[in-house]
Symmetry: C2
Subunit: 474 residues, 2 copies
């Protein structure tokens, strides 16, 4: 049951086969829209728990706003509207009736949320206001669609905050970006680069966009999350004004930030192999599968008795288990299936194991069999789950590192950008950025924080104002 | 800060003022769509946790399906389509492009889900399949819109299952209905009647619909959740076939069931009073608020020191607390605000309390002040939270009981139905049901399970085939 396409040979086809065969998703009759199946959605729920805990501590509260945005409302911030209008889906009829004004399905919720913020905020005492929403988003993309990475409907969270000062808003932007980096690295074992976007790549309507970017195994960049400093732009247009402590009137400073179900795609791409998914233990809905190897019902019962003790011991440690007792499938078939689904640890219990009062343990990322005494198995498994979580991040870091380059000149840049991320000097002129994009297909992914510019612009040769990462991207 | 409208005098206006003033919701520029604010959404999250736990135990797994349903797909089950088409919102354009086929925004997801079920199910080994989705739903209602109870967009969960036998499917229908009844009674303290719907009131496309119905304080019924036996109707149309254990082919038996954010409205209606919301402790996002009464900073610090011990003790019991230290608001103002928001227990700590090494405790539903020694406060509060959860259900049961009647004849029926639920005999003829509806505005809400018919049809006088509850409804 290994995948037909190989990761090294045909990455793109391998990915498509992987996410469908492992039952993370499936295609639907609705073009550009997929089902996130149970195994995929369970990963999303882990992501939700991780972020909800961070947000709650920071005073962010969840809420829900309408998915319909009247066209006139979406139009209020001109730059914002221009940025999103090409990919908006429009509702024109309710029942038999044509609507007086067509309604956009939210491509993002700044305009509808800030209309409400203006109503709720009047004093510095109402600040900061921090609201988050978990919801579906519609962007009628015409670019190459790809499961999880680009679909016309996807799920995300969008945090929106209003503050009394620019400093506070800036701190919130960085705080959210740090949650996202932690989420990617600590939970998903996907290493990321933090930085800010160029003006050409920033969010429509924002003063500044910060981003986390991951390097996929084919060398392409995947934007994994963004956090925007909106300044007072939206506050001005939607009238989010407040009385300051000394009785003056001021406009609120705002931020917005989000991550989406595309992270599930990043996870699959980075860790998957030719046998299927590899899930980091912390994000795996099922952490340990126990496969009995038996010929008779008596053997199976003995294996079950042995497994029951292990299950109880793992349960006490908060580790999730499943005993695969199906009669109609062979052990080998089951091994393949659980490998495809990325379960971190497989335990085999056969007659040989039982005779030695032990069991055989296999880590999904290593594939080596280890025999362990019954008495030591639960502790060992717990240790191995921790180790696997760390190892996957380390391996992914090393792989990412092998795809990061520095270019001294444009000739070198053009060669290296075929292989991954290229760090290079940039003069800050959008025309150089645009020319690089046209000639190489690479965009400016991120300007890393706190890195001094050095040398010259890789395109025009003028002194560099920034050091930036360039790459082709999803 | 009490409400302007009184619950007893002007129930409808009171409700509208209540849900907005307590910040459960707010109106938006999108007609028929509201914001579920942080305090409302937190209640929804409690409902989600409650149901997720039940569903998980039953083997139901969460997933996510597209919100777009191509018109041709929605049309496949004719009765289903006819039932929903009057209130479907249609997407006709993506970006600048007119779509080849218009897309419905899901009014429910049977058609899109079962298209996929047909793909996933081929053997009895694939059954039962139990999938649930938490999502937004669009129904372009033109009836009287009301926050939570009827809005054009709302949130719900929809469980969908497929089984190898009718018996299994029937058991699932009743199991889900039991979860819903438990949810309403144990979590929300809203008593419900369980029963089945008449053919006229059942879900379009179902063989049978079961329901839980609650009586609101104005005597109207609120349908709080439904669970449908779909039989093999959809399986036939969407081709959900499976090989049985003995090698034959059969069609799957199906169920679907859901509850929505309208439950938050039920909760507010049933328990709220003229001072605002009253939240059952188990569903209250904040359970205990501590209000210091102070004139000087020194007083406030002393109150805080006393509160800190209480907070730690309650925290250890898993009880959520908030210390309201705002300087700019008087204690009385704070009392009113927290009463409006329905916080179950208020603790006051003033100089007099501190002098006696104690604190004053007030239950939201009783409003009486009780003085307690510091040492006993935490245990007492825990006891009172349990008691309040029980008391609210008992009180709501008694109130509901006072609005339930039995009618011997149609004259009596017409009088009683002005006041609440009326239990009466019914011959089973849809024409009698329709006539009752036209003449009194009351619909058949539920035919209670396991209740023998007695006497005659309240409308036509023929022998009763069923005993049924009739009421006007939201």
């Amino acid at each position: 049951m290994a995948l037909e396409h190989k990761k090294a040979a045909d990455f793109s086809e391998w990915y498509l086969e992987l996410v469908q065969s492992s039952q993370l998703m499936d295609y639907t009759p609705v073009q550009g829209c997929m089902v996130i199946r149970e195994r995929g959605y369970a990963i999303w729920e882990k992501i939700q728990s991780f972020l909800n805990a961070r947000m709650r501590k920071d005073g962010v509260r969840n809420a829900y706003f309408p998915m319909f945005i009247p066209e006139s409302l979406l139009k209020q911030e001109a730059e914002h509207f221009a940025g999103f209008v090409p990919e908006v889906a429009w509702v024109t009829h309710g029942g038999d009736e044509a609507l007086g004004e067509r309604l956009a399905l939210r491509p993002t919720s700044e305009t509808i949320m800030y209309t409400m913020f203006a109503k709720w905020i009047s004093s510095h005492r109402d600040l900061p206001l921090k609201v988050n929403q978990w919801c579906n988003i519609i962007r009628w993309d015409t670019k190459a669609l790809k499961p999880f990475l680009r679909t016309r409907e996807f799920l995300w969270q969008e945090g929106h905050t209003a503050h009394a000062s620019k400093e506070e808003a800036e701190a919130e932007v960085r705080r959210a970006l740090d949650w996202y980096a932690d989420l990617c690295e600590q939970l998903l074992c996907v290493p990321v680069i933090k930085g800010k976007k160029s003006d050409a790549e920033k969010f429509p309507g924002a003063d500044m966009t910060t981003t986390i970017e991951a390097i996929m195994p084919d060398g392409k960049a995947l934007q994994c999350g963004t956090s925007h400093l909106l300044g007072q732009n939206f506050a001005k247009i939607f009238g989010i004004r407040f009385k300051t402590a000394d009785g003056k009137e001021d406009l609120a400073w705002q931020t917005s930030w989000g991550v989406s179900t595309r992270l599930i795609g990043a996870l699959a791409m980075v860790h998957g192999d030719d046998r299927g998914l590899v899930l980091p233990p912390l994000v795996a809905p099922l952490q340990v599968v126990i496969v009995p190897i038996f010929k008779t019902e008596e053997d199976k019962k003995m294996a079950l008795r042995s497994a029951e003790k292990l299950i109880a011991a793992l349960d006490a440690k908060g580790i999730t288990t499943h005993f695969d007792e199906r009669d109609e499938r062979s052990p080998g078939w089951k091994f393949n299936e659980w490998e495809m689904k990325g379960v971190p640890i497989r335990v085999e219990i056969g007659l040989k194991d039982l005779a030695k009062q032990g069991m055989t343990i296999v880590r999904r990322d290593k594939g080596e069999k280890e025999f362990l005494d019954d008495a030591k198995a639960a502790d060992y498994i717990a240790t191995q789950l921790d180790a696997m979580q760390k190892d996957l991040l380390l391996r992914a870091r090393a792989e990412a590192q092998s795809r990061m380059f520095e270019a001294k000149d444009y000739a070198e840049f053009k060669q290296l950008v075929e292989k991954g991320f290229v760090k290079a000097g940039w003069c800050g002129d959008a025309r150089c950025e645009e020319a690089i994009k046209e000639e190489t297909g690479a965009t400016l992914r991120a300007i890393p924080f706190d890195e001094k510019p050095k040398g010259n612009c890789v395109f025009c040769g003028k002194p560099a104002k920034e050091t930036a990462y360039f790459a082709r991207s999803y």
